[in-house]
Structures are given as structure tokens and as C-alpha cells.
């Protein structure tokens, strides 16, 4: 057997791919998507909270946010997932029964929120100070100005980074297998891994990899589209108007400034 045949049998064995395909779709893909979406949702909410704490005027809100971020951003994902998944197993058992699934999502969202928090914080802080000043000058409170004007703009600016974070979560979701998933709870990687061990062939894992790419690559490219669209909002195309035409938009009543009552020296 030449090298090419060996390689193609090991990695691209079509029959063993087809065999695992139904499981890959019905179990692996579904679970990966559920875990990733749930972790992203929780991570986004908690990340936003962290960001708001991080930019708060109060040191007692900033400090915990800082510590949390340093901790969960600095640890390897695998370590966090194992510590949470096994350490809190007893608590989780009482709440959800004998399944590591919720704990896996929880651990992933803890990690994600540390990154999301930093992304949101950067976005919110990048909004010009003038926006907050304009709000305050109109009589808005800090909180309302943040909620109505500053935060929406900040989030729009970092949407691409948030999508990148979603991609990272999708990939990290494979680590949940460490917690010992039941057959129906397996995600893409675990399905591929099991089949690879059974058949002694890496092709099922290749298929799992292909699935990850099918999800992540379009997302990466969607980022750019989302970026342009959300940054500017819907844009109307207008023919540039000469500044001279604009002069006519404001016409002082009954002629020019000449008739102004205060002009002509009758100052107090």
C-alpha cells in the first residue's frame, strides 16, 4: 500500500463516515449547538454585568469584576471545566439529577463571561464621552443614559468580537466530554471520538471536524456583514447636497439679521 492509500483510509474512509453520520447529526450536532448557545447566552448576560461592574465608579464593584476576569481568563479551560464539573457534581445532582450537562454549560459560560466582559467593557468605553455628556445635559440619569444610549452603541461596536467568542465557545464545548456524558448527551467531538475508537479509524473524527468547520467558517464571514450593517444601521443613499443650498433652510423671519430689534445699538 502506498502512502496515499494509507492516508486516505485513515482519514477519509467514506463508509465509516457515513455510518456515524446519523448519530453525528441527531446527537452530536444538536448537543453541540445546545451547549454552545446556552453557554453563550449565560456568558453574554454575565459578561455584560461584569462589564458594567468594571466601569462602575465604585471600587467595590470594579475589584471583584477584575479578580473574576483575571481568574477565569487566566486558567486553562480544561482545568476550569474539570474543577467545576467534578467539584460541584453533588450540588448539580440535587438540582438536575445525574447529568453533567448543566454543569458543563455552567463552566463554559463562566469562562466565556470573563472574555465577554472584557469585550463589552472595551466597547462601552469606546463610545465617545460626548454621548454621555449629551444625555446628562438632557437630564438623564447615569443609568438611563447607559441603558438607552451608551450601551447599545458599545455593543454594536463589538459584535464581531462577540461572534468570535461564540466560535471559541463552540470549540471549547468539546471539552465537556471530560465530565462523562451519557450516550444521548454526547456532542460532536465525543460522537466522533467514540466511533473512531470503535472502528480504529480516524475518519469519524474527521467528520466531526468537518461539522465544526461548517458551523464556524460561515460565522466568521457573517461577522463582517453584521459588522457593517449594525455599525451604521440602515443607511439611506442621498445625493450630496451643496452647502449653499442648505443656507436657505434657515431663513430669518422677514429678511435678514438687519431687522433684528437688538441690532442698531439699542443695547441696555
Amino acid at each position: 500500500m502506498d502512502l496515499l492509500t494509507i492516508l486516505s483510509r485513515t482519514f477519509f474512509d467514506f463508509p465509516s463516515m457515513m455510518e456515524v453520520l446519523p448519530q453525528m447529526l441527531a446527537t452530536g450536532l444538536v448537543n453541540t449547538v445546545i451547549i454552545s448557545l446556552a453557554a453563550t447566552l449565560l456568558g453574554t448576560l454575565f459578561g455584560l454585568l461584569l462589564a458594567l461592574m468594571g466601569i462602575s465608579p465604585s471600587r467595590w464593584l470594579r475589584l471583584p469584576a477584575r479578580l473574576y476576569t483575571d481568574l477565569f481568563r487566566g486558567l486553562p479551560s480544561i482545568l476550569t471545566i474539570l474543577l467545576i464539573g467534578q467539584g460541584l457534581a453533588r450540588v448539580s445532582y440535587q438540582l438536575f439529577g445525574p447529568t453533567p450537562y448543566p454543569l458543563g454549560i455552567f463552566a463554559l459560560s463562566l469562562i466565556a463571561s470573563a472574555y465577554m466582559g472584557e469585550i463589552f467593557r472595551a466597547g462601552i468605553q469606546s463610545v465617545e464621552r460626548g454621548q454621555m455628556e449629551a444625555c446628562r445635559a438632557l437630564g438623564m440619569s447615569y443609568g438611563r443614559a447607559m441603558r438607552l444610549v451608551v450601551i447599545p452603541q458599545g455593543i454594536r461596536r463589538v459584535l464581531p468580537a462577540i461572534v468570535n467568542q461564540f466560535i471559541a465557545i463552540i470549540k471549547d464545548s468539546s471539552l465537556v466530554y471530560l465530565l462523562g456524558l451519557m450516550t444521548q448527551q454526547r456532542e460532536l467531538f465525543r460522537v466522533g471520538q467514540d466511533a473512531a475508537v470503535l472502528t480504529g479509524n480516524l475518519s469519524p473524527l474527521m467528520l466531526a471536524g468537518l461539522f465544526y468547520l461548517i458551523i464556524t467558517v460561515p460565522l466568521t464571514h457573517m461577522v463582517n456583514y453584521v459588522d457593517v450593517r449594525y455599525r451604521t444601521g440602515r443607511r439611506r443613499l442621498t445625493v450630496p447636497q451643496s452647502g449653499l443650498k442648505e443656507v436657505d433652510e434657515v431663513r430669518p423671519p422677514s429678511g435678514a439679521l438687519i431687522t433684528h430689534p437688538r441690532i442698531g445699538g439699542n443695547h441696555e
Binding site: 452647502g243 431663513r251 437688538r262
Partner: protein
């Protein structure tokens, strides 16, 4: 063409504004030193002076975007320094050099936001007020344009409409025309002059000396955080007393 002549009936009820020995510092640096100033109801005061003289800080001290260290601010003859800043700012409109419009809101939404979400008016009513104000600044046709689709002059007029939608008793203008192309300056100044004519109390920080001369009731020259000279435009521009004002005028005129 929507010009102002159709909608100038509205009059404003400007309140008096008085500063008593207002002192304001950024950390250890004193930016305003015991500034006292009285602005009569419905009158316009222009503040001129070199950069770094504390003109903008004075405006920010009035509506407390920066908190003064000492002194007092009286609005309609009542001290407001102990009011909640948010309550005070409802009564004072402000226009900024760089407009500071909300880029993700249309012109109409920019103007309607505060009446709706701060004053708590029904949305439809806030929108109606906003539309009226936009008409008055000659932008009725552009109500659903976003700021980036408007010229600088148009953006500044939206910003003026936004401040007016809150029915302020005093308007503060912080170099409102400094960021505009020359041909667009006139539209904004015309609007401000008209506002003055219709009874608004205005404090205008400006480099437009001809505007100050024509429209102001009182011109105030500031330097190094103090009011050096104040008086009617004729006195300030034609017969400056202090050497610093003489020097300043010789540089800018």
C-alpha cells in the same frame, strides 16, 4: 421650503441666571476663580476669550457637568446648587461644539428621546413635539435621516432642536459653530439670533465676534479663569479697557 417665518410665533420664557463667586477646579488646578455674572431673563450673553480661559468650564459649571467647588448658581432668582443635577439640567439646554447627536437614532428620534424617556411624555406626543422643533430649525424634511447623513450645520440644528424640545429656561452654547464649514455657520447663527429674539435666555461661548457684536446684550471677556471685562458689545469691542482684552481683540479681529 420650510423656513422659519411660518413658525416663529412660539415664544420662549427665558429665566434669569446668576453666578455668584463660582469657583471650579480640576483636581488641584483652579479653572474658574470666583466668577460672578448676571444674565437677565430673555437676554443673550456672549463669552469670549482665549483658549484655556475657562469659557467652556463656566458653561459646565452652570449645568454641573462639572461640580463647582464653591459659589452659587441662581436660576430664576433661586439657588439651584443644591438641587439634584438631573432636575436642574431639565431646565437648562446645552449645545456642544461637536453636536453629540446619537448616531443610531434618526434626527426625529434624537429630538424625541428626552421628552419621551426623561420627561415621560407619551411617545406620540414626544414625536409630535420633536417634529415641530425640527420644522422650526428648517429640518422637517430630514426628520428620518441619521446624523451621519446630515451636514455639520444640519446636525447642529438638530442638536439645538433636541435641547429646545425639553422647553428649557436657559440655553448654553459651547462653541456651537466652531466645527462647521464656513458656509454652514450662518444657518446656525441665524437660528441662535432668532432664539434670542424670541425670548430665550442664552449664554453663548463663541469665537464669532460679529455675532457677539450684533446679537449679544452683554459680552463677557474671560482669561485665566476670571471675568476680566464685561459690558454691552459696543463698550467691549469699540472701547476695551483692560490691556488683556485689547491684546485679545487685536489678535482675533
Amino acid at each position: 421650503m420650510n423656513n422659519l417665518s411660518s413658525t416663529t410665533d412660539a415664544t420662549w420664557h427665558g429665566a434669569s441666571l446668576e453666578l455668584r463667586e463660582l469657583t471650579l477646579a480640576y483636581g488641584p488646578i483652579e479653572v474658574l476663580r470666583k466668577v460672578s455674572l448676571r444674565v437677565a431673563p430673555g437676554s443673550t450673553t456672549c463669552i469670549i476669550g482665549p483658549s484655556g480661559s475657562g469659557k467652556s468650564t463656566l458653561l459646565r459649571g452652570i449645568n454641573r457637568l462639572h461640580e463647582p467647588q464653591s459659589g452659587d448658581v441662581l436660576l430664576a432668582d433661586r439657588s439651584v446648587l443644591h438641587d439634584k443635577p438631573d432636575t436642574l439640567r431639565l431646565r437648562i439646554g446645552m449645545v456642544f461644539q461637536h453636536f453629540n447627536l446619537f448616531p443610531d437614532h434618526s434626527a426625529l428620534e434624537n429630538v424625541a428621546l428626552a421628552p419621551w424617556r426623561v420627561k415621560g411624555l407619551p411617545k406620540a406626543q414626544a414625536m409630535a413635539i420633536a417634529r415641530q422643533r425640527l420644522e422650526e430649525v428648517g429640518l422637517g424634511q430630514r426628520a428620518d435621516h441619521r446624523p451621519r447623513d446630515l451636514s455639520g450645520g444640519q446636525q447642529q440644528r438638530v442638536a439645538i432642536a433636541r435641547a429646545l424640545a425639553m422647553d428649557p429656561e436657559v440655553m448654553l452654547f459651547d462653541e456651537a459653530t466652531s466645527a462647521l464649514d464656513p458656509e454652514l455657520v450662518k444657518g446656525v447663527l441665524t437660528l441662535m439670533a432668532d432664539l434670542c429674539r424670541r425670548g430665550m435666555t442664552m449664554v453663548v461661548v463663541t469665537h464669532e465676534m460679529s455675532f457677539a457684536r450684533k446679537v449679544a446684550d452683554q459680552v463677557v471677556f474671560m482669561d485665566e479663569g476670571e471675568i476680566v471685562e464685561a459690558g454691552p458689545p459696543g463698550a467691549i469691542f469699540d472701547a476695551p479697557q483692560s490691556p488683556r482684552l485689547q491684546r485679545f481683540l487685536s489678535e482675533v479681529l
